[in-house]
Symmetry: C2
Subunit: 570 residues, 2 copies
């Protein structure tokens, strides 16, 4: 509760003598670090030291974070401008453990005056102060990636940007960490051949490039699943190029920005809003600053509040006690749920398309839950399940009604788990894949708390179900509650967990039906395979007993097999 | 990569007609949220909206976080001033779902000029800019608790503080969230009867009080384990009072502040340090700004760097390319490990004392690892295990050599797990208990990655071992890498995980020996109980066969039992 004060205290007597000299030294040190030494911490300094909070805690992860932040921004910009996004991601090794991450988009470009702050200042942006669905929301990401690049290589960020009306501008800049301000090294107008508009950012950083479940490759693949309208070209450090073609030219619906919902506003926030508003009456304040409040609701609230408050009360003059009554009155008043046109889910159909495009499986099911609300923020959950490859159940019924084993497929780099592995969990928030911190995420919690045994799957130790399966969960919201600035896991709000579970159950029930069919198939297949092994022997026996010709024998065998297969009922 | 620009883009043609009006509305909205609307985000605003990052995501957790931040600060202050800490924690319910958290210490008190910023400004403090072991390190905690109080109740924080020389001061203040600045409501000199020095802070907040594994009660109990020199009085909301008396008057050793180790400094950081230093020669810079660099090492580094650098080079004039060579030269030079007198572990003996005082078990073992280094920061790991209650193995050998069952003890509120539960994990960082985010913590990872089967425990699904056991892990470091501002989980640095595992293995081996003995006991107990059931029958049979008197029979039975027990070997 207290900070050290200037040498007000001598060291106690019980310091061993031999360390007396050392102790004296420590006392003088303590002077330096006394309360007088307490000082401001720049937010950039804070995050440079705590860069693992931003996701930059290992060279493998750093490269992914940089790609992710740049791609998030690019997609947000394209969507806000109504442009069908075309992205290019290039990773180039420029030294030992040093890579250049370049991300280029066909977005609207960034106005000159904004470039510096957007790439060279933490906590700066357009998305934090509004409630609307976007990938970025903190004003940290891309500047943090640049800061990490500078920290590890000493090199600044290169930005190339062109708006439709302006000329292409190249800016070389970095962040002044101690002051959290952009430091511009150069800026000039350049030619950008063949580019109408767009932005390209290049960051050089210490990094490691690896394949695997949490690699850049996998991140981009999953991005393609969640953004069926995106065309993305990816050049990996070996020079290999992958193109994810868009599955649909349908852009995500434009989402509206919303005002906060009265039921989600805390008393302290209400007091600040009353103080900061430009409205000159309480009635106007309630209707202007919140969603779902019209004249009738405003009247009801004010009447319920009492304390001498009227529709004409001057907002900035309302004291804490009155505000507390107002807050209670708001909570007690029925107000319709926030509008939901501020949320754009992927949609069950497109989700299915996306899953089928990138995941090979036997069975797919998706569910989109109706929108719900946590802490006044609307959100919507989508769930998809792909089941039954690689190598797993792997039985199928042919067109002629036969059951056969499917060819095994290489399971490496696959998004569907092998049969004896826990199901793969694909987590998405506002169409962004979340690859790290699975253990600490509300989505994981929801999946492990779901009873998968009742759908015919095994679930050892109350963990993830073990099955050849991928479970995809997407949350779309005007404000996604991430557990940290690295935006890798959802905080466990009960409303969110409830919705995810309902979505999982919806998909689970359909999966259960499929699995029971599969298990029946498997049982029949085993029996049949056993019998079929003996049919030729039966044929030979019959031939001997009934004295058949070879042709008659084969016909009999064929008839037997046929009867056997037709006896199967679906 | 780009922000929306001012209406440079019309909506595309494929907007359905019926929503044309809506679209127009959205276009105008988009105007408001265009690049022009990008702006600074105050760090207080950021964390108010993301308060779950600070740990304030539920009313139950909020009350714990407030107590934790206040207790952390109080203990840090006492230790830095060399005072044996005496704390008082009071929780009082002041309304429906509203509690007042009050924490009072006997620390050195806070100088007048500092009170405002310490309680009313995020990212302000004395601990961030130095490398030394302390509970607080971010300059966020206590102000954040106050911010949450204001957010939920609208009420400011009350601080009472008295330094040895000054008079007691009462300050009522809150944080101005939009500007991240203290807003002082009042300040006056008051009388504080019977208090020589100390600080008391009171925060009123919306909260819920619950008992259980992650309650304030449990936090304080664990704090007492990790701080055997602390006396703590706790008054819970029902008025019940618990006093944790200190187990030792021995204060934790004073720890020194250290300079960064050259091997832990990134290129970008080196460049900033060169730019900011007041040293006028490269040689001086290397020796002044880093630990473990003397004239010889400095010479070696500069010689290895080449690029025209000399011991007399002027630091602020060293360019990026030269700095890069210098950085490489540092990495290539052998430099001794950082000093470790900057770390104060609890110590195996005191840890054992602490465990025995608060945990009832059959078997205790502790281990203190030697100090190690991650990212240039020294740290040290301690592990303790308490095994074999409640109700679990529960067999003991009496003084006469007999085996008997122990009385069962109530397992509620106990820190040791029941026999069929996963072991309880008690995590500590710089003597602070970590109660939340267990799943995302490097300590948990280390425990689950340890093979407990080889010590005779079951470990289903590769999770925590299932046993009547508590595992305690403590990390002491000059900089603890928490995964988020709420300081609930450690980031997974490989060096840290390795050390924790080694500590667990050291304890595990000793536990294994104990368990094998216990299992032998159990086997023998089962056999004996079986035999003893029949001894009376054997007596009766012998009596009949040998025609014994009742007395002779009883003597024979007693002798038989005696032989049976003496035949046991330890």
């Amino acid at each position: 509760m207290t900070l050290p004060t200037d040498t007000l205290f001598e060291l106690d007597e019980d310091v061993p003598k031999k360390s007396a000299k050392k102790a004296a030294k420590k006392t003088s040190r303590r002077k330096d670090t006394s309360a007088g030494a307490a000082r401001d911490i720049s937010v950039a300094e804070f995050f440079e030291k705590n860069r693992h909070m931003l996701g930059f805690d290992s060279p493998t992860k750093a490269i992914l974070m940089a790609v992710k932040e740049a791609v998030d921004n690019a997609l947000d910009a394209c969507e806000e401008a109504g442009i069908l996004p075309e992205l290019r991601v290039e990773l180039t090794q420029t030294g030992e453990r040093v890579f250049r991450v370049a991300v280029e988009d066909n977005g609207p470009g960034i106005p000159d005056t904004q470039i510096g702050k957007i790439f060279g200042k933490l906590l700066y942006g357009s998305k934090f102060h509004k409630l609307s669905q976007s990938r970025g929301q903190q004003g940290i990401g891309i500047s943090a990636a640049g800061m990490y690049g500078k920290l590890t290589t000493g090199k600044p960020v290169r930005i190339l940007s062109k708006t439709r009306r302006g000329k292409a501008v190249e800016a070389i800049l970095s962040i002044d960490t101690l002051r959290n301000k952009p430091e511009e090294h150069s800026r000039e107008v350049v030619a950008w051949e063949g580019k109408k508009h767009g932005t390209r950012v290049e960051i050089e950083m210490e990094a490691l490039y690896k394949k695997g479940q949490r690699s850049v490759d996998m991140y981009l693949k999953q991005t393609a699943i969640a953004n069926p309208h995106l065309t993305l070209t990816y050049v990996d450090p070996t020079g290999a190029q992958v193109v994810y073609e868009r599955a649909s030219r349908e852009k995500p619906p434009q989402t509206a920005e919303i005002k906060p919902h009265p039921h989600g506003v805390e008393l302290g926030r209400l007091i600040s809003m009353l103080k900061e508003t430009s409205c000159r009456s309480l009635s106007g304040f309630l209707q202007e600053e919140f969603c779902r409040v019209g004249p009738t609701v405003a009247k009801k609230i004010v009447a319920a509040a009492g304390k001498g408050l009227s529709l004409k009360s001057y907002p900035t003059r309302i004291a804490r006690e009155e505000a507390a009554s107002l807050h209670k009155a708001i909570a007690a008043t029925r107000i319709s749920s926030p509008p939901t046109d501020c949320i754009a889910p992927i949609g069950a159909e497109l989700l299915l398309k996306g899953l089928k495009k990138e995941l090979e499986a036997d069975f797919y099911v998706t569910a989109t839950r109706p929108p719900a609300v946590y802490r006044g923020n609307p959100f919507q959950i989508e769930v998809g399940i792909a089941y039954g490859k690689p190598g797993g159940v792997g039985l199928e019924v042919t067109e002629t009604g036969r059951i056969r084993k499917k060819a095994k497929v290489d399971a490496t780099q696959d998004l569907v788990a092998a049969a004896d592995e826990p199901a793969r969990l694909l987590r998405f928030a506002n169409r962004v894949p979340l690859l790290y911190q699975q253990a600490g995420c509300a989505i994981t919690k929801s999946v492990t708390q779901t009873n998968w045994r009742s759908y015919g799957l095994s679930q050892p130790g109350g963990g993830l179900p073990v099955a050849p399966m991928a479970i995809m969960v997407h949350i779309a919201s005007v404000w996604v509650p991430f557990t940290s600035e690295s935006k890798e896991a959802l905080a466990s709000y009960p409303e969110i967990i409830k919705e995810i579970k309902l979505g999982l159950q919806e998909c689970g029930r359909k999966l259960g039906t499929h699995i029971r069919k599969g298990k029946r198939l498997k049982r029949e297949y085993d029996k049949r395979e056993y019998i079929e092994t003996y049919i030729p022997h039966i044929g030979i026996a019959l031939q001997e007993i009934l004295d058949l010709t070879a042709k008659e024998r084969d016909e009999t065998v064929a008839t037997l097999e046929d009867v056997l297969h037709r006896s199967r009922k679906f």
